[in-house]
Structure formats: structure tokens, C-alpha cells
Amino acid sequence: MTVGLNAFLIVAGLLFAVGLLGVTLRQNTLVIYMSLELMLNAVNLAFVAFSRYNGTMDGNLFVFFIITVAAAEVALGLAIIVALFRRRQSVMVDQLNALSH
């Protein structure tokens, strides 16, 4: 494969930018959360690319740990969103503004 490290880093950076766009643009908490997962995924891609082109296994192991932490984070975050929905009957961020009043 003649594709270099920089091409993979560009793809990872673009994925991260798209995820950040989703976090800033959307009102739905669940979609914001999915965009956060996308940003984590972009970082994973950069880690694996660095690991492959560097010739060591450390980046791959970091991705392993990141996936573990992301799975735990998703479970906890969704539980928090469900608890929030039970109390406020909404998951839109512009209606979850009790602290700003």
C-alpha cells in the first residue's frame, strides 16, 4: 500500500471535525452523544495509523483501552440521559436549561 501516514491522519482529522460539528450543531442529546463517539473513533483511527507506521504495538493497545472506556462511558451516559428524560420529559439541550435561570 502506497498510501502514507498523512492520508490516514487527514481522514482521522476530518472525522474528528465532523464529530465536533455534530456536537456544536445538534440539539438532541442522543445525537450529540453519538457525535462524541465519532470523535473517539477518529482518535482511534489516528492511534492505529501511528502504531502501524511506527512498527510498535502500543497504539493498538491504547485503542483497546479506549474502546473499553468508551463502552463503559456509553452505558453510564445513556443511563444519565434516561434519568434526565424521566425528570424533564425532554432530551433537547435548549430545554435542559434549568441552571441558567
Binding site: M1, V11, Q27, T56, L61, V91
Partner: protein, 181 residues
């Protein structure tokens, strides 16, 4: 051949990610998200990280997205009041400008010859441990070597973190009495 596959999988991943961000329906967004995750798994295969590709499909595209879809359908947020999105024009403008700035930053940072272009080294099947860490191999055996030697403490901490997350989820999702607080 592999170069064409790289461009195809990158395009699929990026297009699915953009669709996920822009589609108004949350369920459609979750479906696009699955495509984006599987595209990333394909890029992992191109980088010869086969074990991580399988983990990515099983954990992200499987467990995590099923959990997301389950919660989306449970809460049924697309109906009822508050389903309006993109209501603030200022937010759209600011997000678009910020996104374009980030894209320009990514291209200028990575597309020049600022970083040295490294060649791909040959990959062996079986790991050999030496002083500088575990070299890159295609077998999942090197994961085992590293997890039980160099990364023993993080491995234990990750296990403890999963336990803590499980207890946390049980506590958070327990039915509280509203009058109590």
C-alpha cells in the same frame, strides 16, 4: 488495489459521518453511525490491525449502537414537542464556519511535507518481545503479551472501571422517589 480500497472506505466513512450529523431523524443517524463504524473497521483492516477491526465491529457497531437504538426508541424523542432542531440561525452559521476552519487546519497541518512520509515495514505473524516494547504484528497474541507484561496495571484498572461503571449505571437508573428530593 489497496490504495483504491483506502479511498473508497475513507469516502464511505466520511459520508456516513456527515449524514449522521445532518439527518434530522435520530434513528437514521444511528444507522449512518453503524456504517461509519464499519468503515473505520475496514480502515483498521487496511492498517493490518485485524483484532481491533473485529473488536470495533463487535463492540461499537454491535453493542454500543444497539444500546443507542434501544434508548432512541425507548425515549421516542422524534415525536412530540421539542422535536424542532436547528432553530437558531446563529448556531448554524457559527458551526459551519468553525467546521470549515477545522477542515482547513487539518489539510494544512497534514497535507504538506511537514511530517516525514514513513514507509510501511514488513509485518511478522508472531510476536517477539524485546526491550523496546512489542513490535507490530498481525496476530492477536501480541495483545496478550503486552496486556500481561507492559500494560498489566492499566488492564486491571480497566477491569475495575467496568465494574464501577456497572454499579454506577444501576445506581443512576434506579427509580427515585420524586418527593424524596
Amino acid at each position: 488495489m489497496l490504495d483504491i480500497l483506502f479511498y473508497v472506505f475513507s469516502a464511505i466513512t466520511l459520508i456516513a459521518a456527515v449524514l449522521m450529523v445532518l439527518t434530522p431523524n435520530a434513528v437514521n443517524g444511528a444507522m449512518c453511525m453503524i456504517v461509519a463504524f464499519i468503515g473505520t473497521a475496514a480502515l483498521f483492516v487496511l492498517l493490518e490491525a485485524y483484532f481491533l477491526a473485529v473488536i470495533q465491529v463487535v463492540v461499537y457497531a454491535g453493542a454500543v449502537m444497539v444500546l443507542f437504538l434501544f434508548i432512541i426508541m425507548l425515549l421516542d424523542v422524534d415525536k412530540g414537542e421539542g422535536a424542532t432542531e436547528y432553530n437558531n440561525k446563529l448556531t448554524i452559521g457559527a458551526s459551519a464556519i468553525g467546521f470549515l476552519l477545522l477542515v482547513m487546519l487539518v489539510f494544512t497541518a497534514f497535507s504538506g511535507d511537514h511530517l516525514p512520509e514513513l514507509g510501511l515495514t514488513a509485518v511478522t505473524e508472531n510476536p517477539e518481545v524485546f526491550d523496546g516494547g512489542v513490535p507490530f504484528t498481525t496476530s492477536s497474541k501480541s495483545f496478550g503479551y503486552s496486556l500481561f507484561t507492559k500494560y498489566m496495571l492499566p488492564f486491571q484498572v480497566a477491569g475495575f472501571l467496568l465494574l464501577a461503571a456497572m454499579i454506577g449505571v444501576i445506581v443512576v437508573s434506579k427509580k427515585h422517589d420524586v418527593a424524596e428530593d
